[in-house]
């Protein structure tokens, strides 16, 4: 969902520019990061100026997917074992409401207007559609076994869902809410991310050990990113989270138990560098100014801070147990 956060940021930014409300180029001010801790049942709040934990919020059971509402007022966190999505008020940093998701929600995506939320429900092979304003359930879309990765195309017309045991990326028309195409990818697809220019969809396969690059118009795989780390067995390389810079030049891929983030040149689809982070790294989020990339390292219970320009890990912040997802406030 980091993707959505970023898409949202850039969209808001554009809107701001168009409407003449543009602020001066982002000063190096602090942002606030929210990290879901799957085992602690908490969300850790991090100040990106001091890089310190400012608050730990108690949430429901097994928090994983986490994202802001488009207006930036709420943080939504999927608490799978409570079968709901909780809303954290970003001002008071407390849980104030919950959404009627299906059973075991994991990841979710929202439409451009921030009105409709699509939730992957791992337990019953469906994507649940939720009206965010009314906070009510609109219906379900049947997908493959164990839906997980969720993203929406930059034009808002296509919802992508990946199903982990069916091994497909499902292309869903957001207006008809029908599946229009299915692309078979390598085993256990976890995460999907569009290039900002919409020309490519990247899907990570955790067990397959690859990232498939898909032409979203032709619904065909046009390339694959592969990973090789000297001294590491292929089995340990398990790509999950993907983050792409706004200029679509560089992608960062979290490699799970390989404990590394791969820096990928998007044009050539080749890895240029591996950055050692914490153990079992899964998800990530950029700060809105794109100076930093924060990654969640599940087994070492910390967050790594990467200086994006320098491509270096500069900091490690201890958070709760088994940090999973991360979202950063505007």
């Amino acid at each position: 969902m980091q993707a959505e956060v970023r898409t949202q940021m850039s969209r808001m930014w554009r809107v701001a520019l168009l409407s003449g409300l543009a602020l001066a180029a982002a000063p190096a001010h602090a942002f606030i990061a929210y990290v879901s801790n799957e085992k602690s049942n908490t969300v850790t709040v991090i100040d990106t100026d001091s890089w310190t934990v400012t608050k730990t919020i108690k949430v429901g059971q097994r928090p994983r997917g986490i994202d802001f509402t488009r207006d930036g007022k709420f943080v939504m966190v999927a608490v799978g074992d409570d079968d709901t999505i909780q809303m954290i008020d970003a001002k008071t940093q407390t849980v104030v409401d919950s959404l009627p998701s299906g059973p075991d929600p994991e990841l979710f995506a929202q439409d451009a207007a921030g009105k409709i939320l699509y939730v992957a429900n791992e337990n019953d092979n469906t994507v649940t559609v939720i009206d965010l304003e009314k906070r009510s359930r609109l219906g379900d879309i049947q997908v493959g076994v164990e839906p997980e990765g969720m993203t929406i195309s930059p034009d808002g017309k296509t919802l992508i869902n990946t199903s982990e045991t069916t091994n497909m990326a499902h292309f869903i028309d957001t207006s008809s809410r029908q599946i229009v195409a299915n692309v078979l990818v390598d085993a256990r697809p976890r995460f999907a991310e569009f290039k900002h220019d919409a020309s490519e969809l990247w899907v990570s396969s955790e067990i397959g050990g690859t990232v498939s690059v898909i032409d979203p118009k032709k619904h065909e795989i046009i390339g694959k990113v592969t990973f090789e780390i000297p001294g590491l067995r292929k089995e340990a390389i398990q790509p999950v989270g993907i983050g792409m810079t706004k200029d679509d030049k560089t992608a960062f891929v979290a490699l799970g138990p390989a404990n590394r983030i791969a820096v990928v040149d998007v044009a050539s689809r080749k890895v240029t560098k591996y950055l050692l982070v914490g153990q079992r790294v899964w998800h990530m989020a950029f700060t809105p100014d794109e100076k930093y990339l924060l990654t969640t390292n599940g087994v070492s219970n910390d967050v790594s801070v990467i200086d994006v320009a320098a491509q270096k890990v500069i900091k490690t912040i201890q958070v709760g147990e088994l940090p999973w997802g991360i979202a950063i406030a505007p």
Binding site: Q142, E146, N167, I179, V180, N182, E220
Partner: protein
């Protein structure tokens, strides 16, 4: 690879009418023995549908994927009763099913594989853990999703060595399979530097597993049986026949943990396994079968999923295509064990992590950290390529 899809349910609008073409039907047979074995622990008594229940779930999973690809999987079950001819039953099953998942004893499985060889049926051994089926008696038409005794013993042994419990008191049952497990454990001790300080045999003198006042008697027998042992760290029980193993924990003369056939047990799967997304499958299994998922269920699930995986990758239900793909270098399957599972090409054994479980929790998962291998750490479990006597034919 990409199929346009009509006929999906969107927001309650059932559109079942317009599936592009009649889906290709892929038949999967399940061949097992009728009846269940009796265990010492009532809790561990296998269900009547042990094994097939896992295959059923995998067929459901395959069909969810299959509806996007125009493939439909159909499962046909056949249970052999005493006195029935296994080859006849297998041949009949092979009429409609190009793939057969078998839960058979080693000898029966060999008969079936030889009888079906010319037909091209692909067999999956989901039940038999015998080493010889992957060694001297290996067959080119049998893929093994069940782990072997050596894999199980090595998985346990690695953990014991990591724990520095390296002095073992080995207690072996008097049945053949107990002795085979003991052989595997001895090999493990030699490989990983553990010492078997003494071996004892527990004779099966017959007797009922369910009795009134049983506990009182067992509580007197087991301390006596385990007394006067040389200094040891852990009691390793080899009791596949379920005669004494489960009686040992908490009753040994010396306060020592029990492992092997009781206490800490190596298994391909356990109802307590909830890592690596397994909770989702455990939930699906429970919903479908109203009970928890056993190791045999998992071995059958994996077999049926391998068929599903290969048919979707090759976009074909043709047995030969699917067989070639499964045996080829690009095949792997995800099975909620934290890593991809692949086949050992020299004997068609599925590489897999082994869980160490105590009946309530997954205590550890082998291979253990530090046991290294030049090809795959999973090959530190069981017989490796250079040791193999298998010549596939």
């Amino acid at each position: 690879m990409i199929r346009w899809l009509a006929g999906l349910i969107g927001l309650g609008l059932a559109a079942t009418s317009a599936l592009a073409a009649e889906p290709a039907s892929i038949g999967v047979g399940y061949l097992g023995i009728a009846g269940t074995r009796s265990t010492l622990s009532l809790v561990e008594q296998p269900a009547e549908n042990d094994g097939i229940a896992g295959a059923r779930l995998a067929i459901e999973d395959n069909n969810t994927t299959g509806k996007f690809l125009g493939q439909r999987f159909v499962l046909e079950e056949r249970r052999i009763r005493e006195g029935e001819d296994v080859v006849q039953a297998a041949t009949a099953l092979a009429e409609k099913n190009g793939f057969i998942i078998a839960d058979l004893p080693a000898d029966a499985l060999l008969k079936v594989s030889d009888a079906l060889r010319d037909r091209g049926t692909l067999l999956f051994n989901a039940g038999a853990i015998d080493e010889r089926l992957r060694e001297a008696d290996c067959r080119a038409n049998v893929i093994h999703t069940a782990p072997t005794r050596a894999m199980l013993a090595d998985a346990l042994g690695q953990y014991l060595v990591w724990k520095k419990w390296s002095r073992w008191l080995l207690v072996v049952g008097s049945h053949d399979e107990d002795k085979l497990f003991a052989d595997a454990l001895r090999r493990t001790a030699t490989r990983f530097g553990a010492k078997i300080v003494q071996e004892r045999t527990f004779e099966d003198k017959g007797g009922a597993r369910r009795t009134d006042s049983g506990v009182t008697l067992i509580q007197r027998q087991m301390p006596v049986f385990t007394q006067q042992a040389p200094a040891y760290d852990v009691l390793v029980a080899a009791d596949e026949s379920e005669v004494f193993g489960a009686y040992l924990p908490y009753r040994t003369w010396d306060p020592r943990p029990v492992v092997g056939s009781a206490g800490l047990v190596p298994r391909s799967w356990d109802p307590a396994q909830d890592q690596w997304g397994a909770i989702q499958m455990q939930n699906r299994f429970m919903k479908l079968n109203s009970r928890r998922m056993s190791a045999l269920d998992m071995q059958a699930w994996t077999a049926a999923r391998m068929i599903g995986e290969a048919t979707s990758r090759t976009n074909s239900g043709d047995v030969k295509n699917v067989t070639d793909f499964i045996k080829g270098p690009d095949f792997s399957v995800a099975a909620f064990k934290g890593t991809r599972l692949t086949l050992r090409d020299w004997n068609l054994q599925l590489r897999q992590p082994i869980l160490l479980v105590d009946g309530r929790m997954v205590v550890s998962v082998s291979p253990q950290e530090g046991f290294l291998h030049q090809v795959s750490e999973l090959d530190t479990l069981g017989y490796d390529r250079p040791e193999s006597k298998c010549k596939l034919k």
